[in-house]
Amino acid sequence: MTFNEFRQQAIAEWKTLQESDKPRILVGMATCGRAAGAGGIINIIKEELARRQIDATVIEVGCFGFCYAEPLVDIIKPGKPRICYGNVTPEIAPQLIEDYLVNDNPRPDLAMGTLGEETIEGIPKLIDLPILKPQVRISLRNCGHIDPDNIKQYIANDGYSGLEKALSMTSKEVVDEIMKSGLKGRGGAGASTGFKWERLLEAPGDEKYLICNADEGDPGAFMDRSLLESDPHAVLEGILIGAYATGAKTGFIYCRAEYPLAIHRLETAMKQMEECGLLGDNILGTDFSFHLEIKEGAGAFVCGEETALMMSIEGKRGMPRPRPPFPAQSGLWGKPSNVNNVETWANVSAILQRNAEWYAQYGTETSKGTKTFALAGKVVNTGLIEVPLGITLGDIIYGIGGGIPDNKRFKAVLTGGPSGGCLPASSLDIPVDYESLTKAGTIMGSGGMVVADEDTCMVDMARFFLTFTQDESCGKCIPCRIGTRQMLDILERISRGKGQPSDIDLLDKLSQIIKSTALCGLGQTAPNPVLTTIRYFREEYEDHINKKRCEAGVCRTLVKAPCQNACPAGIDVPRYIRALSEGKPEVATAVIRERVPFPAVLGYVCVHFCETKCRRAQLDDAVAIRQLKRYAADRDDGAWKKNIKKAPPTGKKVAVVGSGPAGLTAAYYLAKQGHAATVFEAAPKPGGLLRYGIPEYRLPNEIVDKEISDIEEVGVEIKTSSPVESLKTVFSQGYDAIFLATGASSSRKMGIPNEDAQGVMHALNFLEKINAGEKVDIGKRVAVIGGGNAAIDAARVALRLEAEEVNIIYRRSRDELPALADEIEEAEQEGIKLNVLATPSRVITENGRMTGLECIRMELGSPDASGRRRPIPIEGSEFIVDVDNVIIAVGQEVNRSTLPTELEFTSFGTLTVDQETLQTNINGVFAGGDVVSGPADVISAITTGREAACSIDRFLGGDGDIDEVLAPPEGVPEPFNVEQAEGEQHRIPMKLLGFEKRHKCFALVELGYENREAVEEADRCLRCDLEEVD
């Protein structure tokens, strides 16, 4: 049979299969699918079909790239489009057969999408999904569609037509075609494939070698494996074309032995090729002969480097050698050779099957075509993707990848594996092409793309990759062998909190030496993860070195427990939770009091960073740390007071301006250090935002009063209704230092027409008036603009007044709402409507009084520097909201007019202070809280209050040591049954006031835990602080 006849036969068979009146079931059986259980699923499907005596064709296909949805089962009924089902379990598989094959119910609830022209109601087209829409599949063209073990299916899909076309051209013409396509090596370095081929073609001698590099070794990369397992012939055809174009007679596929399925598929494919006359002597009856061999590599990362790879094929230790001479001059066994990566070869066959112009239409001016990526890490849709070069990182991560799971914050993306670098959110808009990535400090690499979220420590990330490279270094050259180890030693000591301030410079110096002088690519690129993390995340290094703090809570020696680490004030959460589980709320309060003077306030309103990091959340729900804190504080018996530290009077006087949490905290600790602390407050009552910003139903004033009286008890004098006019006056009254904690109490404007119309209010003013007991006129229909806690508070307060219909208008999507999740939920339960992805464009007025609000719909575009997707107005989508009042809650800023003019401000309008001492530009004047940070939260304000107290104490001649021990020493904790504790055990719900009782009234909503509930909830703590640290 001639090859042409064979092809006709293959096409006919393929057509018969497509038009068959039997249903077809395709199961993704690449390693990824098998690991997810596809092997069991396919058996279950076969058994079910046999049991029901359904005549269907079951086909094992390769990987479609939807790793997150494996195992994948596709069902094609005659005359119907192909439906793709993801996450198929042993229970779902027989159900699908019953529902769809027997009862003709396509189960839209389980389907991911359809493939093909026609549609099925209720199921989207796969190609329209954000995960697939931006993709262009060239090298992955057949993956998941054909049976990789059947050469005929490949041939029926244009397979080997590229080879036939090449054989009708001269070698030089083929090389030119590749050159014209602009194809660059997809293995990492990105050298022009055409250029490399030309060198080999021109090299003298008859004995030349072609090598396919399938030694994929980057952690997190699996493009080559999937491709070889799913469509080996696409690669093999490319190799044949390359051999013809360059005059090579022999080829090797260097594939790591850890890829047994890929090797098996290649072996099968090569056997079939030999049978068809596609491999061996006189291929397709021409003079062209080529022999191919698979060489299994033992898994050394360095053997992916082409010179080391060739050494390994020769049977030597895989160690790179310097170039020149280049492989095209002296390669395998000293003969001219060329190495290309798996993906490059698959692109070659596609280019010859079509043409160079077609390929070059994709990509950018300098980076043509497409690139596959293994999208992994903290991203919703992990998987194998192929995108045109030039697409932005943000479009890959947020568009295709679906963003970051669990509503966490994006932190970094690592491209190029251990040779690449970590790019921050501000780089999300850079296009993925060879030049842009190099400019940003990373590399394209072979296609590993690992996404990191806020729970990733960048020092640890760099340490991880250095561990890898120093382990995988072949040991030949000094910079790589010793340099990477020295860098790793430094990173390890930084992550243990033993770093020196000079270490960052030392890392940089070593990086430059290694980058410039290492022998091969492995060494030259090994410092990249360190260099990029220093470049983009320097403050994390500085935190580890100077503050011995790992914000992400990863570096175990620095982190007692994730919750404690997440608390800005460093409250020993696990310890007080333990005290509560032992039924000792008074001990728990003392533990909390060791770090903050506001346990109750925090128990009612803290934003609880601790809970977002609680490890229990990975099992079921986070421990209700805030509610437990409230439980403890509500039972405060004052026993801690006998242990407080109170220094004798120093004779120094400190003036604190502002009686919010920052000011009062500072005054409290300064008084305990022996200084006479006086707080000046402009308002009639102390407490700042605690009193005037937070509604009663969340934080009753009596709680605030109680904690302020504890503060006054240590000698703090509070002067209310006493605005401070000038710093000079204060100093002239004999004060030695001033602490400014005046907050950020000015509401930010929206900048839309008629914003000042009557009926438009600002959230803070509104809340302040209500909390001061003033009467505010408010209509029946109210719109609140914004998505923060102030917006939710304003909305709920409005509802408690005259308003009957309250709408919250927020410009991003629900997932991005910055307010606390509990608050949003409670607001919705109270009947408040969320109108997301919309923003006001104009206030409609009549005679100076607002009558309505014009809004515009928004859509999410590419991510901004905060890692959140930027809202973009949809033109022409304006709509009117009929409301009587608008409350604007789009943020607060510092009111400069109330501050002395001699102070220096930042470009954000906040006060400039020294990061270490919190001192402003004026000697003896310190500042902290929102006036420095911009609007933040209570716990952060308390933390700066503590920091200011330390700094001011030192300024006044003290030692700055405000730490105290209030709780009795803890004994050896009871043995802890981890297995039992890890059993599923959801958070004990907080009892809430009934809706009817909340109506038009400011009664406290959260009712608090009872004793039994508190103990039970506290028992859910996993006691991470008792974990052994190695």
Binding site: P322, G475, C477, I478, P479, I482, G483, S516, T517, L519
Partner: protein, 372 residues
């Protein structure tokens, strides 16, 4: 192979095609520091000290591996290169005892001075048997390393004293790979190779077996190429430098290997194979390399002929001895005599023996122990 011209540090140099940049530079009389380079071994490029700047070439290529081409413009010692060389040496010294190399009193320190305060006893160069004969010392001196900011970590390995000829102290090894390469490339033995990866890489035998269980022939080539004190001949370990050197031919067999004897106080303290000859080109076997001093200075060695008188051997002059042999041989018929020679004799001696047999006895009954 024609000649090519290249410009090295501004000097135009004509060299023959096929040379590396390093060889061209050496020919031009310009020194570039190297540690892994050895003229008898193929270019390797591991120590990275010979980095140079070459116009139109990316990065800093190593002179030892880069082929010299016509019109090349090479800079061998720019400030940037000097800085990187210092950096590389600092890294290297973080694994090699070095306080003496960076000691500020270095210039004032005489060979037999005892340092009282500056350097830990265990890390002194004077405690290395290769002190004064160390290429690392020379390179550090040339490049100039004043301080090493990185912490020093000793590998803490035991010294291998298992064989009678040389000791292996891999705490001093800088992994230049010369021993591995000479064993493989020149001797064709391959008894040792690199083992492990990364910072644990070390030369060693397969599966870490003893050298005597490997293919090692104890030729000592590895010892001769070692630039540091990692491989040291046991017998001359604390002998210091020889007073004088004498070139000679190895007496062990007829190959005629050229050796250099290092003499101290009239005794042979060391033997090194000579490179500049076409017979052994710097190589020797275990006998020539390690077997000469003991054999030459052995108390049992005969230094005059012995003649048995009154039932006991007594010292005699050569004339006496030859007279006696001649007179005894005359008592036999020619065909009753056979002559046996030794492989330890030189070719010239053996030539004379066969000539003597054929002319004096007229037959070919002459043989040689090497045939056995």
């Amino acid at each position: 192979m024609g000649d090519i011209t290249l410009t090295i540090d501004g000097i135009e140099t004509r060299v023959s095609e096929g040379m590396t940049v390093l060889e061209a530079t050496q020919q031009a009389g310009i020194y570039i520091p190297t540690l892994c380079y050895h003229p008898d071994l193929a270019p390797y490029g591991a120590c990275r000290l010979c980095i140079v700047e070459i116009e139109k070439m990316r990065g800093l290529p190593t002179a030892c591996t880069t082929p010299a081409t016509n019109g090349m413009v090479v800079q061998t010692n720019t400030p940037q290169i000097q800085e990187f060389r210092r950096g590389i040496l600092e890294l290297l010294l973080s694994e090699h005892p070095h306080p003496c190399l960076t000691c500020w009193r270095r210039d004032k320190c005489g060979p037999f001075d005892i340092c009282l305060r500056n350097v830990d006893v265990t890390q002194r160069c004077v405690l290395c048997p290769n002190n004064g004969n160390c290429e690392l010392q020379e390179v550090v001196d040339y490049v100039g390393v004043e301080t090493v900011d990185l912490p020093f970590t000793s590998r803490g390995l035991p010294i291998d004293r298992e064989n009678p000829f040389f000791e292996r102290d891999y705490n001093l090894c800088i992994l230049c790979g010369r021993c591995v390469r000479v064993c493989q490339e020149v001797r064709g033995v391959g008894a040792i190779a690199f083992t492990s990866r990364g910072s644990e890489t070390l030369p060693g035998t397969a599966f870490g077996r003893l050298l005597r269980d490997s293919d090692c022939k104890y030729c000592g080539a590895c010892v001769d190429v070692c630039p540091t004190g990692a491989l040291v001949e046991r017998n001359r370990k604390w002998e210091g430098a020889p007073d004088s050197k004498v070139a000679t031919t190895c007496p062990y067999c007829g190959v005629g290997c050229q050796l250099e004897l290092g003499l101290k106080d009239g005794r042979i303290m060391e033997v090194t194979p000579l490179r500049e000859n076409d017979v052994n080109r710097g190589q020797a076997c275990v006998k020539g390399r390690f077997g000469i001093p003991e054999f030459v200075h052995h108390t049992d060695r005969l230094t005059t002929p012995l003649v048995k008188k009154d039932g006991a051997f007594q010292e005699a002059t050569w004339d006496e001895a030859l007279e006696l042999v001649a007179s005894k041989l005359s008592g036999f018929k020619k065909e009753e005599v056979a002559v046996m020679s030794s492989a330890k004799c030189t070719n010239e001696d053996n030539y004379v023996v066969q000539k003597f047999t054929r002319t004096a006895f007229g037959h070919n009954n002459v043989d040689h122990c090497a045939r056995l």
